[in-house]
């Protein structure tokens, strides 16, 4: 069916919009912009030349065969290639032979099926364009009237509008029952309490070097160096290690005492050694990109920048307040120790933080 067969009454003569545009008619010689209708179908070479059609057929069959071979290749690779075999493929580098072989054979097997089907459709199936009529989606007025009447009838029979008591209690029941579901969510987690305000640090706890798992001496910490510490007694195998280290992780740097601008920072330090929470006050990334010349520390997640020589004040980025400092001192043996817990909650701010 080509365009010439479209009956005239289906053409958009009636399609006059409110602004008066778009009224066109097919055989209107006075309108040069009129819709000339679907152009006549032109033949593809495959439609008129059987040899060309045969060629297409062979291409399609070849693609399907290729797919079969690739699947055989997939199975062969699965069986034959060891899991840890590494090959060098330019320009991909040293990659897993198995992953590459399986992926490529699977890819070819699937692609060839698709390419065969599409080539078949494009060259051998009919490419005559067909016009299908659309029908308005809105219902005819009679249908609409019938539905509305039915609805009214049903509503009336239910007497929902008349018997208000039934209606109101039903709405009440329906509105209340989801509360059970809400209640059931209560035990998803404990209440916050003051959990976010406390860490494992307390008076006298030694600062243990993350790298060596040994307590840190003041003399170990050089100016310009960066060290991470955890509270004494917290071990990686502990069940609550992740939870505790998420709050207690500590970053230790040593500044020249005369470079420390903030008075409280100086007071809470030991000979220029300052201990700050490693947890960013923005959303809790472990911040630790310490620039030893500028004394700035940058968060890799959202680039909040803090000045460790000035009370870890925020100097750039989205963090809202300074990093909490841990007050430290030295015990008789020369080991660094905490002089208490953090005085404010570590990590991201929250409503009750105050």
């Amino acid at each position: 069916m080509s365009s010439q067969d479209i009956p005239e009454e289906n053409l958009p003569a009636e399609q006059v919009d409110e602004h008066g545009h778009g009224a066109v008619a097919l055989a209107d010689e006075t309108n040069p912009f009129a819709d000339p209708g679907l152009p006549p179908h032109e033949h593809r070479i495959q439609d008129i030349d059987e040899r060309a059609a045969k060629r297409s057929e062979r291409v399609v069959a070849m693609l399907f065969t290729l797919s079969m071979l690739a699947t055989v290749g997939f199975i062969a690779s699965y069986v034959a290639i060891p899991r840890d075999k590494s090959i060098f493929v330019f320009p991909l580098g040293h990659i897993s032979a198995l992953n590459f072989a399986l992926g490529m054979t699977l890819g070819v097997a699937l692609f060839a099926i698709g390419a065969g089907a599409v080539h078949w459709a494009r060259t051998l199936m009919s490419d005559v364009e067909i016009a299908d009529q659309r029908h308005p989606i809105e219902a005819e007025p009679e249908v609409k009237a019938k539905v509305l009447a039915d609805f009214k009838e049903g509503a009336k029979e239910s007497a929902l509008g008349r018997r208000k008591l039934i209606r109101n209690t039903m709405f009440g029941a329906l509105a209340l029952f989801p509360l059970s579901g809400v209640m059931l969510l209560r035990d998803l987690g404990p209440l916050p309490g003051t959990k976010l305000r406390h860490t494992l640090w307390s008076k006298g706890k030694l600062l243990v070097n993350m790298n060596t798992n040994e307590p840190l001496r003041a003399s170990d910490v050089a100016v310009g160096s960066l060290t991470f510490a955890k509270p004494e007694g917290l071990e990686e195998h502990d069940e609550d290690f992740q939870l505790q280290i998420a709050k207690a992780a500590l970053m230790i740097v040593r500044l020249q005492p005369e470079n420390i601008k903030d008075k409280r920072e100086l007071a809470w330090s030991h000979e220029g050694i300052v201990a700050y929470s490693k947890i960013c006050t923005h959303v809790g990334c472990p911040i630790s990109l310490y620039e030893q010349q500028t004394h700035h520390v940058l968060c890799p997640c959202h680039q909040s920048t803090f000045d460790l020589s000035d009370g870890a004040r925020v100097i750039f980025g989205p963090a809202g307040h300074a990093l909490p400092q841990l007050r430290i001192g030295v015990n008789e043996q020369g080991y660094l120790e905490a002089l208490g817990d953090f005085e404010e909650p570590v990590g991201p701010a929250f409503w009750e933080r105050g």
């Binding site: 032109e42 040293h94 990659i95 070097n209 630790s288 620039e291 940058l298």
Partner: protein
């Protein structure tokens, strides 16, 4: 020779080697330490210092001062140690070319012998970290997995998971560690060049450093395997997203154009 190798596995062999090594390092330290004050003697060491001094006064003194005491253009080099010189000059960072956010790695202009002489001279100005030995930086005997953990604790925040580098403030950056001589990585940890903090042996032990180098060698070496295929720079989701858009969606759109295109018509005759 044969006798020696036969005793290699003797229980005390390790102790002997350790003692020898200690003696050697001690000796080296003594030679490098300012206390040596070997003014008059004509050993190779003092020759090296003299040569180094000459090189220094030509190439470095304009910024670091004639005696390495520093000036407004360059910091004092007293006490930075041979390791710092070997790192800075050996990676081409020094002599610096132009001021910028950060002095970057470039072509090395001194030979290793000259660098050693410079290092000897600077080391003679004040005690500092020494150049690590081959065994200190070789991945042999190191715990790669522990190195990985240490790397993620101490290094990855600036240098990325596998040492691909990353951004710092105001145009500064942590460089990629790809293809960097393990010796230089060791020296960087010890000396903390430019804005990098130092990780002295007191807080990051020699063994820790060796582990870290072994880990880097395993995950960012010349023949590190990337099992999944193209590494895409090892930068994570940004490069993956770009690849997905350009090559993934791009390829699929190209295929869609083919699927939807009309087949060529036979020519009208």
């Amino acid at each position: 020779m044969k006798k020696l190798s036969a005793r290699r596995r003797h229980p005390l062999a390790a102790v002997v080697v350790l003692l020898l090594a200690l003696a050697a390092t001690g000796g080296l330290y003594a030679a490098f330490a300012p206390a040596s004050k070997a003014q008059a003697d004509t050993t190779a060491q003092s020759l090296a210092i003299d040569e180094g001094k000459k090189l220094f006064s030509v190439g470095c003194a304009s910024c670091h001062g004639t005696g390495g005491q520093g000036s407004s253009d360059g910091p004092s080099l007293v006490g930075v140690g041979a390791a710092a010189v070997d790192f800075q000059v050996g990676t081409g960072r020094m002599p610096a070319q132009q001021p910028g956010a950060q002095i970057a790695r470039k072509k090395v202009i001194y030979s290793q012998a000259e660098i050693d002489q410079l290092a000897a001279y600077i080391a003679s100005l004040g005690a500092g970290p020494t150049i690590p030995t081959k065994s200190q930086v070789s991945p042999e005997g190191a715990d790669i997995a522990k190195g990985g953990e240490l790397f993620r604790t101490n290094c990855a925040q600036c240098h990325n998971f596998t040492g691909k580098g990353g951004a710092l403030t105001h145009g500064k950056f942590a460089p990629s560690l790809e293809g960097v001589d393990p010796k230089h990585i060791y020296e960087a940890m010890q000396t903390g060049p430019q804005n990098m903090p130092s990780f002295p042996d007191t807080t990051l032990s020699e063994k820790n450093k060796k582990d870290i180098i072994a880990y880097l060698n395993a995950v960012n070496g010349d023949d590190t395997e990337s099992p999944g295929g193209l590494e895409l720079g090892g930068l994570g989701p940004v490069s993956e997203g770009l690849f997905g858009w350009i090559f993934g969606l791009g390829a699929l759109v190209a295929v869609a154009v083919w699927v939807a295109a009309r087949t060529a018509k036979a020519k009208k005759s």
